[in-house]
Amino acid sequence: MKSVSIAALGLAALLPFQAVAQDKPEEINIGITTFTSGPASVFGVPGQEAARMLAENLNEAGGIQGVPVSLSFIDEGAGAETLTTEYRRLVQDENVDVMFASISSGNCINIAPLAEDLEMLNILWDCGTQRIFEEADYRYNFRTQANATPEMLAPLLYLLKNNPDFETIAVVNQDYAWGRDSWELFSTALKQLKPDVEVVGEFFPSFGASDYSAEISRLLATQPDVILSTSWGGDLDTFVRQANQRGLFSNSQFVLPLVESSLERLGSDLPDGVIVGGRGDHYFLHPEYKDGEELQDFVAQYRERTGDYPIYPAFHMAQAFAALEAAYDKAIEANDGGWPDREQLVDAMAGLEYRGHGRPLTIREDNQAIEAQLIGTTKHVEGYDFPIIDNMMIFDGADLMPPAGENSIEWIETLDESFVEEVSADEYQHEE
């Protein structure tokens, strides 16, 4: 009896402090899954660097609504099992306030239901598979950037608008989920939008392949009008270099929807005239924002930190941070100035409007963001020792996505040739 009353007394003594702490926590702890090992660390490390930089900036400016943020990282390269264990640990033992997961689509598919079980606000900060919100309804999961559907339709539309006279196409994609899924989206759309094109080669060399000589020989012999590759990282670099060494670029129009992330590394090995994408409107010379202070500061600071220009994962990270800030602002306003609990924060994510370093984004009713897509063509210019993006087109993301809740492939199958004209794009040239 005595001990109970002492415990009660202790609790009562703690209460006022606890109420204050609930009003405003000491810090907001963000858990981030990213690749710091394995081939995908070409994305993971820039994402991590950007996250650290953004957190430092945020804390210098007083944090989110006066509360500083702290970061915890999990390596996605350690494997799916370790990832889910670590994810649980961060959520249950470290009491993180929000999770950003992940880069790999496979990891996103595994983690989304887990986040739902744990009732954890989970921001899918980089992964691309369109299946997540098409195959399930989630309350706690949100994606703060586009998905594979607009990311594949935009380069296809760019190709059809700018080089409509092609008859044959070949594809060289990595042999794993993204390589296969992106080709399914692209080829299904191509069949609808330009049915007379013949697919003359489908190659899926192994993930991490070091040699594409045989594929290149066959492509040189077949001479397809267009060659598509959605590969990335070292695989894409190797393919581009080996293809360029043997003159494949002079025969065929290349479409490389992820090559924005390789431009600086490839340098002069990537010739002019290649169609470039960067999974959204991510570009350090974004034509609509390049003269603005925000983008310039972001690029300058990132370069100072890493020595490189920011690539799309860095921009994706900035979007995730922007969304989180906007969600806290919105939730606090809805809560009459009081600090929101997690449910209130999750409520605020729905329909959220925010902006990273591209056009403004909106989270639509299936928790998927609508993001613009910037596609262009490589060009070597004075002042950069790697190709920049010229002849840019920026597509509105909403035009390139099925209505919320619909399956992308089924939606694409309802499109026809008129779609190419229907979808408009804003055009820009490279300017100094």
Binding site: T36, S37, G38, P39, S41, V42, G44, V45, D175, G201, E202, F203, F204, P205, S206, G208, A209, S210, D211, S213, A214, E215, S217, R218, L220, A221, G233, G234, D235, D237, T238, R241, Q242, Q245, R246, G247, R265, D269
Partner: protein, 301 residues
Amino acid sequence: MSLQILVLTVLDGIAYGSLVFLVAVGLTLVFGVMRILNVAHGSFYALGAYAAASLGLVLSAYGISAWFAYPLFIVAAVAVGVSVGGLMERFILRRIYVREEYLQLLVTFAIFMILDNVQRLVWGVQPYFYTEPLSLMGNVTIVGIPYTAYQVIFLPLVALFILFGLRWFLRKTLAGSLIVAVTEDREAATAIGINARKVFFLTFIIGTTLASLGGALASPTTSVLPGMGAEMIVLSFAVAATAGLGQIGGAAIAALLIGLGRSSAVFFMPELEVVVPYLIMVIVLLFRPEGLFGKTTARKI
């Protein structure tokens, strides 16, 4: 099927097979002599590639002609093979020769993992590329298709040189004869006064140097990046197993077979490309469990 396609298939098969042989031959040699399947062999391939690319980038930074890269490749390979390989043999492998095979496998696998992380610590995660030696040799056009001379002429020549050089070394030199003697019968060799320890040390260094050389020679053709050793060790193992572990000439033929199999797959059935090397291995092992050229030996008790 046109003649052109046939020629292309053969050329691509030879180019790929040459590179695979350069790496696999070291694995085969080490196994043949020491009976250790060195999983860390893939790390030496990666380390050789990283060392070569780094030295090459230093060359270009100082504006030195890329012709010097060729001798530097050998320097890089020997440096990695002797230092890292030597240390590994002296301080780790030497302790486990008498242990069970599975333990040896686990230890070399652990070393592979450690070296993989060392690469990441030293060189980071962004891919390296040093193509100048390859561009320097230019292209040759065969049946209307441009090839890099480096891949279709230089690498196959190096592979042949290594193959015949190694055979000559093992058959005609004293050091080679000692290695052969220890391979045939370690106890008898030790009994007549051969220092088996020294022979093992020498063999292991030759094996790791060959792997590093394979990596160094591969570096101008491909991205040097974390994880590149894993692909190579699996492929080398397929070659070594197909040939029969310890068979050097056999490894050359198996590498060629796998190279040709892979290029034919790309030309005629791209879906099979990824599995072809292992398909060949499985088919060979089903009918000849000791490999194409392996000898069935009575187990020594």
